[in-house]
Amino acid sequence: MAQTITQKILSKAANRTFVDAGESVWLNVDILLTHDVCGPPTFDIFKEEFGSEAKVWDPKKIVVLPDHYIFTANEHAHRNIDLLRQFAQEQGLENYYDVGTDRYKGVCHVALAEEGFNLPGTVLFGTDSHTCTSGAFGMFGSGIGNTDAAFILGTGKLWEKVPESMKFTFDGPMPEYLTAKDLILQILGDITTDGATYRAMEFDGEAIFSLPMEERMTLTNMAIEAGGMNGIIAADEVTERYVRAKSSKPYELFISDPDAKYHSKYSYDVRKLEPVVAQPHSPDNRATVRSVQGTKITKSYIGSCTGGKLTDFVMAAKILKGQKVAVTTNIVPATVKVALDLECERYDGQTLKQIFEDAGCSIALPSCAACLGGPADTVGRSVDNDVVVSTTNRNFPGRMGSKHAGVYLASPLTAAASAITGKLTDPRDFL
């Protein structure tokens, strides 16, 4: 029987040769990811249900990456980091990346890739909705809650309903002014925020396979914004080169059968697409940048698992080189590695860091920061009636702090161009 790539990976994890969309199966989990917001309550449930002396199913398969509330004076947030540290010690978790040490990484979805935990053909669950990011590596990644995560901690298994798949094909060579962020916002406008609920979103086509891993991650990252269970891109030589540089662990490559069944198929020619934003207050509220050009903004924010990777900053630097920003512009690298790369990576003779500093941007320490608002002292948090252009993933009311603020989700090119003019600006004006 023909299967999609998602079905094939889930078949393997269920020790089966075929699983059908709609059936519920028990999966063997390869990696469980958690962080400082959902780790402590997950560990509480684990102890409550399996016993205070219980041991996790496999300490090597649990990855704990504190990233949400790191650089804050909030005492409860500090307490939660202490709880992570304590559990990691008790359980001997070697993949714990402690705050305040040189092991600290930053935003978990980007760090998972950098540290070689993303392996084609494997199954990852995480207590964060953006766990779907890892699907860029030809693997299954999906977000879950604390109770389900506690169940995995004790058993290494979880039931899941095999999703139907939706296929999104992008043909043509990517124009310089277009980014993965524009592609996913294009899709969101077409299928809306519940258009993929309980389904897999599979990305295919010449444009997709021309993208570096970081850009592919932007696409799969926002599958959850359409309600998707997972987003997935089959691994190719670009994936293998990235993975081989980070890990020596075995992996398995899967591709969808040509006659696999899909819920629906969408095709786009990237040469006909334009830079877009998602207007307040929903990720599916799409508009071309040109159609809202001139809308005044008070902040520009470039960061997060979606838009805080090295490729995002390279794009922003291209626009910001030699320019000055007109509004507060926060540069928030996703991870320590990205932050270090800003000091080495050069564009037109200058490091990215120099370009951003010369333009008047503020560079923050790596964490989730204001993508989700966070404690009151979080850097870049929106206040009052702020109008923010942001490379992050969600713009529901209050997402970046103030519930009276409006957030325009955009590509790093658009966020950078808008920072210079203080108004929503099509990046083609600067390219």
Binding site: C38, I144, G145, T147, D148, G227
Partner: protein
């Protein structure tokens, strides 16, 4: 579990995401320490813009100033309830506030799983646009066995979609209670 759920309705719009249900700045409190747990009740639905809370009129607070529990028992929502983040704090906060059931046109997957597997609230689905038919403050009665919703205020009865396979998890009180009941894991 209770066979009848009765209480006042709190009506909301579409796409009520988890940041509106419990804003991220409050996710730092413990979910097990009773003094901190009650704060989840206090801040439940505090991210909903005031004019969109308590429809159709709006500007009806879900929690009274200084209180930790709501006067409302059943939430009526639209499509895609609970979209956004994976935070289990969201259905947890609604439970702490006193919510027993939600009736919405559809749910985001993670919120639905969390509600069921954590045994927090019953997530009923309906094909009717109930958030346009029911007013905040209406007295509602859900008959769990017959999957019906009676609006005691307007004297109209609606049919809810059967809960299907997840009914037994809800009935047991969550995924762990269900797993023990079905001998999928050791008894305590």
């Amino acid at each position: 579990m209770e066979k009848v759920i009765q209480g006042k309705a709190y009506v909301l719009g579409k796409n009520i995401d988890t940041d509106q249900i419990i804003p991220a700045e409050h996710l730092v409190y413990s979910l097990s320490n009773p003094d901190e747990v009650k704060l989840y009740g206090k801040y439940a639905l505090s991210g909903v813009p005031p004019e969109q809370g308590g429809l159709p009129v709006g500007n009806i607070p879900f929690i009274q100033e200084g209180s930790f529990e709501s006067d409302f028992t059943i939430i009526i929502g639209g499509p895609n309830f609970g979209c956004g983040s994976s935070r289990e704090h969201a259905p947890f906060a609604l439970k702490v506030a006193g919510i027993k059931a939600i009736i919405a046109e559809s749910y985001a997957r993670i919120f639905y799983r969390n509600s069921v597997d954590g045994g927090f609230v019953i997530p009923y689905e309906t094909s009717e646009h109930l958030n346009q038919l029911i007013n905040t403050g209406d007295d509602l009665k859900i008959d769990v066995e017959s999957n019906t919703l009676e609006n005691l205020t307007s004297k109209v009865t609606y049919t809810l979609n059967p809960l299907g396979d997840v009914f037994s998890i809800i009935e047991a009180g969550g995924i762990f209670a269900y797993a023990r009941q079905e001998n999928l894991m050791a008894q305590r």
